[in-house]
């Protein structure tokens, strides 16, 4: 996420991270042979969905205003 400047890539990297966290939970749940890991993964999934929806809507707005998807272009709150 730190490397790519395109906002889409940033969001994709975010998804990967969430997925990885969910994977860890599920593995833990399978280790102890309990359902809790999968439950938590479900919650993560729900959260990821909401976040992607809002995030992509934001990306569309940004593109409409700034005409670019450069994460570094969105640096008006500086100094």
């Amino acid at each position: 996420m730190l490397v790519r400047r395109n906002l889409i890539f940033v969001l994709m990297s975010l998804e990967v991270m969430l997925n990885a966290a969910g994977l860890a939970f599920v593995v833990a749940g399978a280790r102890w042979h309990q359902a809790d890991g999968q439950v938590v993964f479900l919650f993560i999934l729900a959260m990821a969905g909401a976040e992607v929806a809002v995030g992509l809507a934001l990306v569309r707005q940004i593109y409409a205003r700034f005409r670019s998807l450069d994460a570094d272009a969105l640096s008006e709150m500086r100094g």
Partner: protein, 196 residues
Amino acid sequence: MQLAFYIAGAVAVIATLLMLTRVNVVHALLYLIVSLLAVAVVFYTLGAPFVAALEVIVYAGAIMVLFVFVVMMLNLGEHGVELEKHWLTPGIWTGPVLLASILIIQVFYLVRGGTAGLATGVVEPKEVGIALFGPYLIGVELASILLLAGLVGAYHLGFRKAEKPEIQYGRYTAERRAAASGDPVLARTDQLARTP
């Protein structure tokens, strides 16, 4: 079973790495989908068929499709590829790789010593459902509220209103920044994007 686990894991890691290094957004998206499917296989081998199915349906099926829709709508095209090539310099990898390697070392250090094997049994979907309706009931309700908020927010943000002065401002700033940045690729993209 163990073999499937290792192969699927390898596929997931490789697909993610490839995703990170693509210059074309759509290619990267496709690689991501592959990665997610591989992770689903990993879940199945771990004895969690319910989440495996969920991963495929929700994550790869809905969220990634959303990504693809938006990317297609943005219509970046050739200049998007050029931009990405321009931005993705080799030197840019050093810092994050350093941080990531430190984190990996920490994770390995933290999880050392566990020797339990795999294949300890399957956690049935029925168990997951009972857990959801039992102790995790509140979580379910909260997740639904979260989804509602996400829905409302996405709807509102997706609203393209009529031309407002703010947009004019934004356009001016972006135009000035793009032209003054000395970045020919960015300026060209900006210019292209403006022509209807």
